[in-house]
Symmetry: C2
Subunit: 301 residues, 2 copies
């Protein structure tokens, strides 16, 4: 997986900072998560191919998470796109886009599919042979979902020495990789675990923004490889965090700890602070594996 | 008057170029004309005060002229604005903004006034003691207006030597500046033109984008100080200009010549060309006083 942060600052686009948007690459698929104003320019700056984005996930309808969507949709049209585009986001998102296309007398030569969300329970919103995406219901001032991206567990890996020792014909290899035991010609049954190693562990990425501190999400994100959790504020602004339904760096770390994630990425910083390093310092008092998102930064895991 | 170009390229925002937006300063008023995606960041980059913008004029509802509006409105709210904001634009613009505010459960602590336009005839849309703004109906693929900004002619200027020679009391000066003749104590009438000079000529600025070549606008923009006329294409793309209802540099120059304007500023360039200098070279074959708009460039006149 490769995660590229296009923007990770709260509230408004500024001269040097961008509102939320990120691209997750899994198994050669490019998923766009949130789309604040200026996302299309950030895609260009980071040399990400517009044509490889077929699925866009919008967490909620606050401007800093979706005001760039209509522009991106229009640019796709101007670039002559013909591939289907799927948009997953809160109910109402279709009305906003449709109205703007109608009033500008514009249309797309590609098909736009809206998958409008309104459930307050986690649900699978995307699935193919290699990847699954589920919603993570969050607690914010408007209806909001995080998204959990999971690689599907791959095949078991053949132990080549073992299959040679048992002189197993190559035509059985796929069955073995699928987890089946094997009956030899002499009647002996060889259990699968003697012929294979465990598959490479499936990776997972959970995007949780925006949200107040909520332990309700822990069972959904337990043991994920990487958790992106918003940390709009530091603990010194705890009251403001509570009032605006955002999280502090310490709270994000507490969620990471309780969910036993491997790594935590912080983001959605308020621009009131002198340095984003303060977020890392605060979070590390609770949880050790903390990374800082920043515009244009990439993470491979 | 001071004109600052925030963006002057057609179609989509790119790494180094911005869609249409410009700020016109007249008599200490700041008027924002069009508001493509990224306008608020361009305002910051050009150090223009958000709080001084009270009137926004939107030519038409194509994305490259208004996708930045909702973001700017939201940012004004986040910055704690309380001053009224007036928006002049095609019918439908209120519905677009209202819907997005409603679905994001947002509001503005300042009053938003929409002045929706649907007339196909020129009309006065703004007027105060010093400035008047009229629409310039344009011919494009959707309902579009240009805008004509006119300073009102100032007072006549006192000829101090003359008023001293006639020993006129200062209490009559305002009447004289307003154009009145004066009757002296001995009964002589002194005509106004012997006591004053003509006022400083009023300046005017006409913004015409987007539009196909149309001589119908000439009577509205005749003799303006500065005409900004779109030139999306060069004459080599004449057919494309006709099809998309845009103008070429040569056509813009022809309008400038026929309207007898003092200066022509070209803009709304397609990004297909290697250099915008080509637009100037082409326009100058028809009209001599040609300037090129470019993002971040200012013009004082």
């Amino acid at each position: 997986m490769k995660l590229t942060i296009l923007g990770c600052y709260a509230a408004t686009p500024r001269t040097l900072t961008n509102p939320t948007s990120q691209v997750l690459e899994i198994k050669n698929r490019l998923f766009l998560i949130d789309c604040g104003e200026g996302t299309q320019v950030q895609l260009r700056k980071n040399k990400l191919k517009f044509s490889k984005i077929n699925h866009i996930f919008i967490s909620h309808l606050h401007g800093d998470h979706f005001f760039g969507l209509i522009g991106l949709i229009s640019t796709f049209a101007l670039l002559g796109r013909t591939t289907d585009l799927h948009i997953y986001g809160p109910k109402g998102i279709k009305e906003i886009i449709d109205l703007q296309l109608k009033l500008s007398n514009s249309w797309t030569n590609y098909q736009l599919f809206f998958h409008e969300l309104e459930s307050k329970k986690s649900e699978i919103v995307y699935e193919d042979d290699k990847v699954m995406v589920k919603t993570i219901p969050l607690k914010h001032r408007v209806y909001t979902n995080g998204f959990l991206f999971q690689e599907k567990t791959g095949e078991r890996r053949l132990d080549l020495n073992a299959v040679h020792d048992f002189e197993i014909n190559t035509c059985y290899y796929q069955n073995i990789k699928n987890g089946r035991d094997i009956t030899l010609e002499d009647g002996r049954i060889i259990p699968n675990h003697k012929l294979t190693f465990d598959p490479i562990p499936a990776l997972s990425y959970a995007f949780c923004s925006d949200t107040k501190y909520s332990e309700d999400i822990i069972h959904l994100i337990e043991n994920v490889t990487v958790l992106y959790h918003e940390s709009t504020f530091l603990q010194s602004e705890e009251t403001l965090a509570l009032k605006t339904m955002h999280s502090t760096a310490k709270e994000a770390a507490r969620i990471a700890l309780k969910a036993n994630v491997k790594q935590l990425i912080l983001g959605h910083y308020s621009t009131r602070y002198d340095s984003i390093d303060l977020f890392k310092i605060e979070a590390e008092t609770i949880f050790k594996e903390v990374l800082l998102a920043d515009d244009g930064k990439s993470f491979e895991f």
